[in-house]
């Protein structure tokens, strides 16, 4: 029985809808004076961050604490990892401490999979972003935000995103957010279109369950949600586009472009936003932009995932297929 969350592609439609529905109930806890549930009392969760991430780490930490788990934060900087300790040794140390779950962020694609399947550790493993591979809880919180905005908070319960058209724009090549979203949105029945400069489209994209376009303006009028990606300069070791100005002109979202979107359509961004580059301040601050909601929804989604993986004697989430079968 799988009890990890490594990839958005592992989730069945029913699992994904169960997570979204559970998150809807978790969101109600945030409205209470005491934002805490006793559900994971006595369980220990380690946030194992080999790569910097303030947003994701605090989001997981808030979710863990709201469920009353004991939380240990581990950042690679200044730890034994910087002295040369391997992932295996770190894992065995955590195992010896009796950890129930490990939330791992790693610069190398596949590190969470290795941790979950190596036999080094017995804990549940939750991928909080690995290299350019996957970031499943980000995809879940994005889907949650879309379902809430496009269908409605209560009206969306039990529903997927069938027939909705989602456009993902920008640096797809370096984006685990794009990969996870394509997988999950496809599972949930949405039609996904990727829009990017040809140099930022990954090799093998034709096998992904989505369309690819190089022209943002033609896709905008038929989009229910437009997700802007951050241009990940730190992962770019070569020139992928001539100038920032040219990128902005062709793939940036400004007020004029936003006006081409249908009335109900929303603008999303996983953050952190680079204002002026992929998104203008006018769009970022508009009513249609869901960036702040996405952050709040992230805590609800992570509470739901932690509850469903750790709340019982066995996880409620079954997986569509094991990673070996892929």
């Amino acid at each position: 029985m799988q009890r990890h969350l490594i990839s958005a592609a592992d989730l069945t439609r029913d699992d994904a809808v169960l997570i979204l529905d559970t998150a809807e109930e978790m969101a109600r806890v945030a409205d209470r004076p005491i934002k805490k549930l006793p559900t994971l009392r006595g369980r220990t969760i380690v946030n194992l961050f080999f790569e910097d991430s303030t947003r994701t780490r605090i989001s997981f930490e808030a979710a863990e604490k709201r469920l009353s788990a004991d939380v240990i934060n581990f950042t690679a900087k200044g730890s034994s990892v910087s002295k040369g300790e391997s992932l295996k040794d770190t894992a065995q140390t955590l195992e010896a401490m009796g950890v129930d779950a490990v939330v791992i962020r790693h610069g190398a694609s596949g590190a969470p999979y290795r941790l979950a399947n190596s036999g080094w550790i017995d804990a549940a493993v939750i991928n909080a972003g690995d290299g350019t591979h996957q970031h499943p809880t980000q995809a879940l919180l994005d889907a949650f935000t879309m379902r809430r905005r496009l269908i409605g908070r209560d009206a969306g319960l039990g529903k997927d995103l069938s027939g909705r058209r989602i456009t993902i724009v920008g640096d797809v090549l370096h984006s685990r957010v794009a990969r996870s979203n394509v997988d999950l949105l496809h599972t949930l029945g949405a039609e996904v279109t990727l829009v990017a400069p040809p140099t930022l489209v990954p090799v093998g994209v034709e096998t992904w369950p989505c369309e690819v376009s190089y022209d943002l303006d033609s896709v905008l009028p038929k989009s229910d949600a437009v997700m802007m990606l951050r241009v990940q300069r730190e992962r770019m070791n070569a020139a992928f586009f001539p100038t920032e100005r040219e990128y902005s002109r062709r793939y940036g979202l400004d007020g004029e472009r936003m006006a081409k979107m249908p009335e109900h359509a929303i603008v999303m961004h996983p953050g952190p936003m680079v204002r002026g580059m992929e998104i203008t301040a006018e769009v970022a601050d508009s009513e249609r932009c869901t960036v702040v909601e996405q952050v709040a929804n992230g805590v609800s989604i992570r509470m739901a995932v932690l509850y469903l993986l750790l709340g019982g004697n066995e996880p409620a989430v079954t997986h569509a297929r094991t990673n070996e079968e892929k």
């Binding site: 559970t22 005491i34 549930l37 509850y307 019982g312 066995e314 409620a316």
Partner: protein, 193 residues
């Protein structure tokens, strides 16, 4: 995972009804009158049903209380799943809805409503959940059926029917809103479970 599927044992085929539709209506009317009497007019009463069937019972009680007092009685639901003491003994359950009426429960008389009172553990969890939501003036408990076998020092303030059972028996409440008809069935537990 369907949250409406009760994890309780299904009633045996030879289950016999101990309360029928008219009995349930009569019992709820009596409980409503008892609430008004004990709460001296039910001015500050808030009804909170425990999902699934407790919520329907709470809604029906609210209608009856309104008929008696002429005032609208706030009614909500309180899911206790996250507060259960046996969470780690089963796979996680899908969560049901917690809906607290707009004015909250601070300083109010909260009447918890459930279909069957058995071990008392559900009510213990409900009291914990209430603690996180606010500070009621007092908490009372109304149940349709009290089948005994308490494992905690908990008793109901309003009981529709006391039903002495053996642990080999099952009590299944069916309500029109969920099951298409109103009845309380007493059956014998299937041995192959």
């Amino acid at each position: 995972m369907d949250k409406h599927v009760s994890p309780a044992n299904p009633p045996a085929s030879d289950a016999r009804p101990v309360l029928e539709g008219p009995d349930i209506a009569r019992v709820l009317t009596r409980i409503a009158h008892e609430i008004v009497e004990r709460a001296k007019g039910a001015d500050d009463v808030v009804l909170l049903g425990i999902p699934t069937r407790g919520v329907f019972l709470a809604q029906r009680l609210a209608v009856k209380l309104e008929q008696i007092t002429g005032r609208k009685i706030p009614v909500g639901s309180l899911d206790i799943t996250m507060y259960r003491d046996d969470l780690r003994m089963h796979p996680p359950r899908a969560l049901a809805r917690t809906e607290i009426p707009g004015d909250g429960i601070d300083g109010r008389l909260v009447v918890l409503v459930d279909d069957v009172l058995f071990s008392g553990r559900t009510i213990r969890a409900a009291l914990d959940a209430l603690n996180d939501i606010g500070r009621p003036r007092a908490v009372q408990l109304a149940v349709l059926v009290d089948r005994g076998h308490r494992e905690l020092p908990i008793r109901a303030d309003y009981v529709g029917k006391n039903l002495p059972t053996s642990l080999r028996e099952t009590v299944k409440v069916q309500l029109a809103e969920e099951d298409g008809r109103d009845t309380v069935l007493l059956g014998v537990k299937q041995t192959d479970q």
